[in-house]
């Protein structure tokens, strides 16, 4: 996807780490990684998480539209390309399975990292189990409906 050459310096990658730090701070300060907030959301008892996800999508849609409209290039001058998502049945099965896990653990993959960082050590077990799930999916991939 990205045309990195072997001579490319490594340090521009620190941008991703920097944005990740900001992201981790937002996750905690807006309590997005809170198991309780996810419960509120699924029980329709608070607007908070709907506001977070909804406003994120609106800002994302406007940003992507602007990028396409103005043909903005990346910082290194490459044209910006966004791959389309192709539909397969795995999206339905996998999403349903993830939804169950989301309600139980109170976390999607991103918040799992943040919960560990916030000092909830036992979430490392949840994280390792999520890795095991990803690995087993890789193993069984050809035998699963897609």
């Amino acid at each position: 996807m990205n045309a990195t050459t072997t001579s490319a310096p490594w340090w521009p990658n620190l941008r991703y780490a920097a944005w990740g730090i900001l992201f981790g701070v937002v996750f905690v300060k807006a309590e997005i990684i809170s198991w309780f907030r996810i419960q509120e959301m699924f029980r329709f008892e608070s607007f908070h998480m709907y506001g977070v996800i909804g406003s994120a999508v609106v800002v994302g849609i406007i940003s992507v539209w602007l990028i396409k409209r103005t043909r903005t290039k990346t910082l290194s001058g490459e044209p910006i390309v966004i791959a389309d998502k192709t539909f397969n049945k795995g999206i339905v099965y996998g999403s349903l399975l993830f939804g169950l896990g989301w309600a139980i653990t109170g976390a999607c993959p991103g918040p799992l990292f943040a919960q560990v960082g916030a000092g909830y050590g036992v979430v490392i077990v949840t994280f390792i189990s999520a890795l095991a799930g990803t690995w087993l999916y890789g193993l069984l991939r050809d035998r699963l409906p897609h």
């Binding site: 198991w35 139980i104 943040a114 949840t126």
Partner: protein, 187 residues
Amino acid sequence: MLEAIKEPWPWYVAGPIIGLTVPALLLFGNKAFGLSSSLRHICAACVPANIPFFQYDWKKEVWSLLFVSGVVLGACIAVTLLADPNPIVIAEPTAHYLASKGITDQSGLMPAEIFSWSNLFTVRGFIFFIVGGFFVGFGTRWAGGCTSGHAISGLSNLQWPSLVATCCFFGAGILCTWFILPHLLTL
């Protein structure tokens, strides 16, 4: 200023920052925002085991691992340097309902009655850590993305498969919360 940052951030601050992650990663180097892929890269780096799904140059995806490392560090900073001394306030009906199910310690981000080491080898621990985590890892990869990859990134690019995914995430999460969790919480 610092006092304001230490208070809980409202949705209209957090949501737009999360939304801006989509253009930020595109500008930084044509990266599609999605966090669950990092789990695949970790598998590819650590236990590829000749599985074709993990045979690719994960080093090209090192940006993703740097991003999630940043998330861990950022969360750590938020609970230390930017910690809010006040307990988290959750919606009254939710607080009341959870208390009726035995989840009475609601001061932190995670319920201590569930997410503690002492539950590791119990039925409760097995369900909430092992089974829950497994569903998250297996499900997101099967679906080809999670809340960030489909609900934020995919919807930002008006991708209908991502809308299907988002509806399924929420549908299953709502059903689980209303009909399955009440039983799991009393285990």
